[in-house]
Symmetry: C2
Subunit: 307 residues, 2 copies
């Protein structure tokens, strides 16, 4: 029985900011080992134009490999219909569409207004629904900059809630509420996630936090208080931000699992396997800064026995 | 109006693990600048035998300087009566006595049983009460390893509560509940702090968290939920642990202030001054690893305007 779902996004959000091409073989080993460690869902790549993100030139091969891993939900990011078509063709289980709640961030990212992206999302849902049930992926809707924006600063809660409801109305199977730039704090997290939950009813809501300003795990705790039970995280906190050298990126998968398990919340993830994998991937990504503490400090005495 | 009290302990708990003598002048500048930044209480040194901790050979000079800083509460750590006598002689405002709740940790640290340390604490309170009111310092009682012990592992909650009540019965003006080795998690923090609060009534309780395993700020959030409104922290997270190379130490003062202020909780601390001081002290302690994120990532757009 799983109390909290931990999803790996390092293979997408992490690798996205690594400035050199990571060999396909490393990506495959990463997916295999995480699945073996008990991570039930991985965002394995991004379907964006190769000239924009050459890191994902091997997306098809990575997806094909991930689909062979038993029990794993294979997710992929797609910012538009074209990327979704490729993802669906390859047979991913879930497409994570993403738009920015903040208008200027969305324009900077995909050269569209947020409203245009919502319409694009409706077309994506339509495409998915036109498929026979066995080939129909889940369509998740990611709300980027939902907790703040480097261009606009604060993002009004009312706007986040409105876009969330539009995405649900368009047919989202799941919402992913993202603190893309690490601006969130626990007070706002509790309020926003409770509000969205009460707006959208029973639809699954996942939190995607960055630890850029050190509040990542405190924000997870706040989201748990708002009954959120699914989180994205990145092995070694890989991710970062090109505008903040040395700053950390996504919350660390291994630190997140440690916090949840220490709180008595079952994740189904084998922490020792995860820590071993971290060392392996860190070596494979020579020079890339890894973050996080549990791998350095070690588990508390008696921890695994108790867990 | 201050919502949450942030006390600096880097000058004591931080410097304690720095392997070279830090010049007295640096310590004085540190205290002055923190006081100017609005930190209202600093644990400026430790009164322990110089041969055990040569770092604090200049304790008297540092205390004398700190006492000239307007509005600052000057605290010093003392593990026994002898150290307390020296601290009182110099006129500190507060003595932070400390014992370990875990029997073996206490023996390893001060070669006494915990019960003997409680008796020593009673003698310290007696000494303080024998002084005329103007010269009588506050006597705080620190419960080290209250949330876990590297030797014993789990520390039973019942024992922590019992020792806390003994210290209050002996006359403590304040309790400092310490996660000395970074074993705490938010679930245990909420439960333990609520229990102690209900046991001891209105006496001030401060939390002293380490970020060794990344849960420092999440534990602060949990303690806030238990109505704790005072926290120790260390500039740049200075502290560490000799048994965990590269691991972080105390929670970071600047990250703590950032979290609290971002949540709308007033600390009275000027975050920009604190971040500037961090850079200065880091340079003065060449080679010592500093932790924390806000200094690297920068404040969110619009943050200071909003605060």
């Amino acid at each position: 029985m799983i109390d909290v779902h931990v999803h790996e996004t390092g293979t997408r959000d992490g690798l996205q900011s690594v400035p050199f091409f990571v060999p396909t073989d490393v990506k495959k080993r990463w997916c295999s080992a995480e699945a073996r460690a008990g991570v039930a869902e991985i965002e394995v790549c991004s379907f964006v134009p190769v000239k924009l993100l050459p890191q994902f030139a091997d997306a098809a091969e990575v997806v094909e490999h991930a689909l062979t891993l038993e029990g794993l939900t294979v997710a992929a990011l797609a910012p538009n219909l074209k990327g979704t078509e490729r993802a669906i063709e390859l047979g991913v289980h879930k497409v994570n569409f993403v738009l920015s709640v903040s208008e200027s961030h969305n324009r900077a990212n995909v050269r569209r207004s947020t409203a245009e992206s919502v319409s694009e999302f409706a077309r994506i849902v339509e495409l998915a629904r036109s498929l026979p049930e066995g080939r129909r992926p889940k369509i998740a809707a990611g709300l980027s900059t939902a907790l703040g924006c480097t261009i606009e600063g604060d993002v009004p809660e009312a706007r986040v809630r409105e876009i969330a409801m539009q995405l649900v109305a368009a047919g989202a199977d799941e919402l992913i509420v993202c603190d893309t730039v690490g601006y969130a704090n626990p007070t706002v997290v509790r309020r926003l996630f409770r509000a969205i939950r009460s707006d959208v009813g029973a639809i699954p809501i996942k939190a995607h936090f960055h630890d850029t300003r050190g509040l990542g795990l405190a924000n997870v705790l706040a989201a748990l208080d708002a009954d959120i039970r699914a989180f994205d995280a990145s092995l070694g906190g890989l991710g970062g931000c090109p505008y903040a050298p040395g700053a950390s990126g996504n919350i660390c998968t291994e630190d997140l699992v440690f916090m949840l398990e220490s709180m008595g919340l079952k994740t189904g993830v084998d922490l020792e396997k995860l820590i071993a994998l971290r060392a392996e991937i860190q070596e494979a990504l020579k020079g890339e800064p890894f973050h996080g503490t549990i791998a350095k400090a070690g588990l508390p005495k008696g921890f695994l026995k108790a867990a």
